[in-house]
């Protein structure tokens, strides 16, 4: 809507007709709302119920087209789509309540059969050459080229409505999404809120239909929230972030499809959304692949430094030691770089020895670190010993055999490394 209000010279400068801008604004708000509503669908694990509803919309579009006497009137078609989506969700509930069929099969049945019925209806209409029926296929994979400014305003308005509803019921939906049993125990109408949420997802699926199409519109509801989830643990941040990602994906899809001829919008929107997701999976702080890899590296490095310090402390009893002596006791690339870091951090200092070779000893800094490390180890040992005494009090005659739980080979390697760490053979 903001873009729609932009002044004409601006519009002219970008050489985009007014209609295109309005459509872009409408689609952008659809993307935003889909992300916001979808956040709760993903948190509540209702993602694939939305998919079944989405595939059913095609049947609703066909029926509404027939009911409207062959007019390609978007509000009417979308009303039909919404009715079909809600009917599909109703079928899911009925199957769950009245038959032995499990959830996953019920979803597949509703999805496959309703889509088949939609295809049958649309093919039948097209084969009979009903005027205006050619555009109906655009609802399968999405195509925004045919949208008018009025259509786009309606889509934008509905999206705004959905976002407002989510904000109004933010507390309730958050509660139900994270702790349904607590919500039920506190007297919230969980089932009602759940149904409300699913109907809202159905609404978003229908509103997203012109942009992404029946087959792929679920992605508009699922992928942006998943992307937002990578960046934050807070619902208050996740919602607008998911909306933003949805908005960007929708706009990118529409922009590319308006440039490439005959390219449906839906797949492009989805590819834009999953590109954002892939990027987030890699670079998001804390959860991202990069952050995890770095943190794992830091852990390994810190572990190697501690180990080297321990070895150095032991070797120093016999005077200065060489680099090779240390690394022989702690093989691996991590140890070599840990040695460099200890030198740079002034934990080790070189001493001059006869014969011109290099020897090392612990510096003041190193002594400090080693002492602190020893103290911490001692405290932990004390705590673990206390826990062991505590555990001994609990043990009965039928203590599970460690071999049966860990396996003989694993047990052997654990005991060997423990013995090596103690510097002598352990109990056998």
């Amino acid at each position: 809507m903001i873009l729609a209000a932009a002044d004409p010279p601006f519009t002219a400068a970008w050489a985009l007709p007014y209609n295109t801008l309005v459509v872009a604004a409408g689609v952008a708000s659809v993307g935003f709302a889909a992300g916001v509503v979808g956040s709760f669908a993903v948190l509540r694990r209702r993602a694939l119920a939305g998919d079944a509803a989405a595939h059913a919309t095609l049947l609703g579009v066909g029926l509404a087209f027939l009911a409207g006497g062959g007019r390609r009137d978007l509000p009417l078609l979308l009303a039909g789509a919404l009715a079909a989506a809600i009917a599909a969700l109703g079928c899911l509930v009925l199957i769950g309540r009245w038959t032995r069929t499990r959830d996953d099969a019920a979803t597949a049945i509703v999805l496959g059969v309703s889509f088949g019925a939609g295809i049958t209806l649309l093919s039948g209409i097209t084969a009979r050459g009903v005027a205006g029926s050619a555009g109906l296929e655009q609802f399968i994979l999405g195509h925004t080229a045919g949208l008018t400014a009025t259509d786009a305003r309606m889509l934008g308005g509905l999206s705004l409505l959905a976002v407002c509803l989510v904000i109004m019921f933010l507390k309730e939906s958050t509660l139900v999404a994270f702790d349904p049993s607590f919500a039920a125990a506190s007297g919230w109408p969980v089932t009602l809120i759940d149904y409300g949420l699913v109907v809202l997802v159905a609404l978003m699926v229908v509103v997203g239909l012109p942009a992404a199409g029946a087959v792929l519109v679920t992605a508009l509801v699922v992928i942006p929230p998943v992307t937002a989830r990578q960046w934050t643990d807070r619902v208050g941040i996740m919602l607008p972030l998911a909306g933003l990602f949805g908005l960007v994906s929708a706009l990118a899809g529409v922009a590319v499809s308006s440039v490439v001829p005959r390219m449906p919008t839906g797949p492009l929107v989805v590819i834009a959304a999953s590109t954002l997701l892939t990027t987030s999976l890699l670079v998001a702080p804390r959860r991202g692949g990069l952050a995890r890899w770095l943190s794992a590296r830091r852990t390994v490095a810190a572990w190697a430094e501690g180990r080297l310090l321990e070895i150095a402390l032991r070797l120093e009893g016999a005077g200065p030691f060489t680099r090779e002596q240390i690394l022989a006791r702690a093989p691996g690339a991590a140890a070599a770089s840990a040695f460099r870091r200890l030198v740079r951090g002034a934990a080790l200092e070189p001493v001059v020895v006869r014969g011109g070779g290099h020897a090392w000893r612990l510096a003041a800094r190193g002594r400090e670190l080693a002492a602190e490390r020893t103290r911490r180890l001692a405290v932990w040992t004390e705590v673990l010993e206390a826990a062991r005494e505590d555990a001994r009090g609990q043990l009965t005659i039928d203590v599970p055999s460690p071999e049966s739980i860990l396996g003989a080979a694993r047990l052997k390697s654990i005991r060997e490394s423990a013995a090596a760490a103690r510097g002598g053979p352990g109990p056998t």
Binding site: A108, A117, S123, V215, P267, V270
Partner: protein
Amino acid sequence: MIDSDGGQIWMHVWAIATAATVAAACALVGSFLVVRRLSLLGDAISHAVLPGIVLAVLAGGRPGGAGVFLGAVVAALVTVWLTNLLGTHAGLAEDAGAGVAFTTLFAIGVVLVSALASRVDIDPGCVLYGILELVPFDTVPIGGIEVPRALVAATIVLVGLVVGAVVFWKELVFAAFDPAAARAAGLPVGLLAAGLLVATSLATVAGFEAVGAILVVAMLAVPAAAAELVVRRFHLVIVVAVILGIVGSVVGYLAAWRLNTNAAGMIAVVLGIEYVVAALLAPGDGIVARIVSRESLRWRVACEDRLAALWRAEEGDAGALAPRTLVDSAAHVWLVCRGRVGSTAGGGLTQVGREEARVIVRSHRLWEAWLGRHVALPLDHLHPPAEWIEHHLGAEVRGRIAADLEEQGGDPHGREIPPEQTAPGTPPVLPR
């Protein structure tokens, strides 16, 4: 196409044969997917094989050829791998992970098809709902007969799947119903799951050309789910699922031909109708059977309540008791028809009716007495549970309660508990 000359008829026969073969293969695999709660894996794979197929065709593979099957299997494995990756690394629930993976792959496939339309002979529409009607035009000669390529491919897949299922039957069933025990017993559960995955993608590709990506979902899940409602033994589920799939394809194709619409969509619709019929009419716990059993129980209770009311009226010398509700009146009429109640106006219980009524009242009062003795309930709370249990106590339980109450007879309300049998020689009432 709706000519009746011989060649055209053959075209339809080939198309129907292809659809039926595909349906049989899908139903076989689908049965395993449905019992393993993996129906959505079928959904995901059927979408996700598209880019594999497109790339294979682009690389020079022929539709229905081995290269295309290979491409599809690779794409299916990539989907599952991606779903697992999203699960372990991004902490996604499986449904969301699958939702992300398969929509993305499908989108890539559609974009490839649209962008390379001139170089790849795949119609974007065909991707979604197949063109079963065109299957007979792409043929290979086998023994002098021009057989549709898709039928040959589907037949090979079907035979392969049947052989696989028969050879590994025991292992597959074990792993499907109790994966933990199967793993503990040393079966390669992961390998079996991967095999199922490959089987699903093979069935999907076989069906892809005939019915398109999305309607394969219907072929995989619907017949198996319907069969599962009708029969309980797993091998019967497979047999029934295959039959339902074949019937659905034949009927669906013919209906589509008659109505001049898309055959694949119509097949899905017919399969859906089969499911609805199965859900309604399944023996035992179909919807109709459930309603019938619930209502017949309610009717029996109404009749027994009426009998007991008449018996109590006689006991208290209150004379004939008029029915109070509509159900009550209907029950009374029924009892008159069955000779439990005298047909004259104000007629009391007949001999047979009195026997039955006495057993019901006996059950009722035994239960009240037993509750009064063993459960700390106030006297006026004993009636409601007894009113419910009186319809369900058998002769054996009545005997045990009576024995328990032996030394301390009598109803807590101070009424007599009627005896099990009035006099020697009277025929015992059959246990319900």
